[in-house]
């Protein structure tokens, strides 16, 4: 009887471990099939669990497993989505290690919690490299050296601001809207004080750090693997991010061209 109890506790912990792994992956922008696959592999790696099935959407994880005729179900709601591809890779490696070894579940949970807290680059490095990307993109579009510099400054400020806003857990729509508005206002400002030369190129370069590339990629990969619910909702995310950026830029340019700012 004692043996049964401890094993049952272990099965419950395994449930927690698998959902935690899935939550970390989903929160940081993994595709749906990868999350489902990882969760099921983690569950089936232990002996007396015959059946395990997961249903994952971008906003939640449902998992049930059978332990000696008893069904256990757990569901987690996933709210904020931010992009951290390093964590996906780490959880992927962790699951491979966990499945192929006899790692105690307690130790696995500790490892996962460590992965969840990890930060590979801090905000300053991310913002400076991200703005470097935008600045080089503006050169690809035919910008001059001065455009490069002003695009770098504008997108650096935009990325730092978004990093600050993100701490208050706003929705992605507000984030993108504020980012695009700020980018176009600052671009107009750089033109005004004479650093920037081509307004179009600076604005296009600066909004590149906001475009929904991850959402587009994941939407298509989800749809192709048969997860239509996730594919549709990620597609909606992409559409609305693009709309938010367009509204932000459009609002500022409208005010500027109608002559309200001089």
């Amino acid at each position: 009887m004692d043996l049964y109890e401890s094993n049952r506790k272990e099965a419950k912990q395994l449930l927690l471990l698998a959902t935690l792994a899935g939550k970390i992956m989903l929160k940081n922008g993994a595709e749906t099939y990868r999350v489902e696959d990882t969760i099921e592999r983690l569950c089936r790696s232990r002996k007396n669990i015959k059946y395990a099935d997961a249903f994952v959407t971008p906003t939640g994880i449902f998992l049930s497993l059978e332990y000696q005729g008893e069904m256990m179900t757990y569901l987690v709601r996933v709210k904020s989505i931010k992009i951290d591809l390093n964590k996906i890779d780490l959880v992927n490696e962790f699951s491979r290690e966990f499945v192929n070894s006899h790692m105690p579940i307690e130790e696995g949970l500790q490892k996962l919690k460590k992965i969840n807290k990890m930060k590979i680059y801090n905000g300053l490095i991310k913002a400076s490299f991200g703005s470097l990307a935008c600045a080089f993109f503006s050169i690809l579009f035919g910008g001059t050296f001065l455009d490069f510099i002003s695009s770098y400054i504008v997108s650096f400020i935009v990325l730092m601001t978004i990093d600050k806003i993100n701490k208050h857990k706003m929705t992605f729509f507000i984030n993108n809207f504020i980012g695009a508005t700020l980018a176009s206002v600052l671009s107009l400002f750089t033109i005004h004080i004479g650093i920037g030369q081509n307004m179009d190129i600076i604005i296009i370069g600066s909004i590149m750090c906001l475009v929904p590339g991850v959402a587009v990629t994941n939407a298509m990969r989800d749809t192709m693997s048969g997860d239509f619910v996730s594919g549709l909702s990620r597609g909606m995310e992409a559409v609305f991010s693009a709309l938010a950026i367009a509204f932000g830029v459009g609002m500022v340019l409208n005010i500027y061209f109608k002559g309200l700012i001089r």
Partner: protein, 144 residues
């Protein structure tokens, strides 16, 4: 000469996006090369065909390279694909559509908007083709 310049700048640009999305240290340069090759393909094909076809070929190239790298280094494919896809996303199309709408030039807006939409479709098609190729290779390997 021009192509080398484009390759270099898009390589640096892709590296920047890779850091922005927290890609692990050892994969940054590989994803940069995938993205830069994709951009060069876009640069060449969009000259002879049009932007939409160019984007399709570029996205397919980035996708296939990403799948191959993912298989070789045993990492998720999105690590290599996403930074390369970002420069292809039609930010410029969105901007010009908005600009035309503000000018009340609805014909130009429809023109640019349609092109933007189809560039987005082309990216999706490119990702679909590359994912499909990798899936079918996997399936054939499982059967044998």
């Amino acid at each position: 000469m021009n192509i080398i310049k484009q390759f270099l700048f898009s390589f640096l640009s892709t590296i920047g996006f890779a850091v922005l999305f927290n890609i692990p240290n050892d994969s940054i340069s590989k994803s940069g090369i995938a993205g830069a090759l994709g951009w060069v393909i876009f640069y060449i094909t969009s000259r002879y065909l049009n932007n939409i076809a160019g984007t399709f070929f570029a996205a397919t190239t980035v996708g296939i390279l990403g799948e191959l790298l993912a298989r070789h280094y045993k990492k998720p494919a999105t690590i290599y694909t996403i930074p390369g896809i970002i420069p292809l996303v039609p930010g410029a199309g969105m901007y010009y559509t908005m600009l035309a709408l503000i000018d009340n030039d609805f014909v130009l807006a429809a023109n640019k908007g349609t092109e933007t939409f189809f560039i987005a479709v082309a990216i999706s098609m490119g990702i679909i083709v590359s994912t499909f190729l990798s899936r079918s290779i996997k399936r054939v390997k499982y059967k044998n």
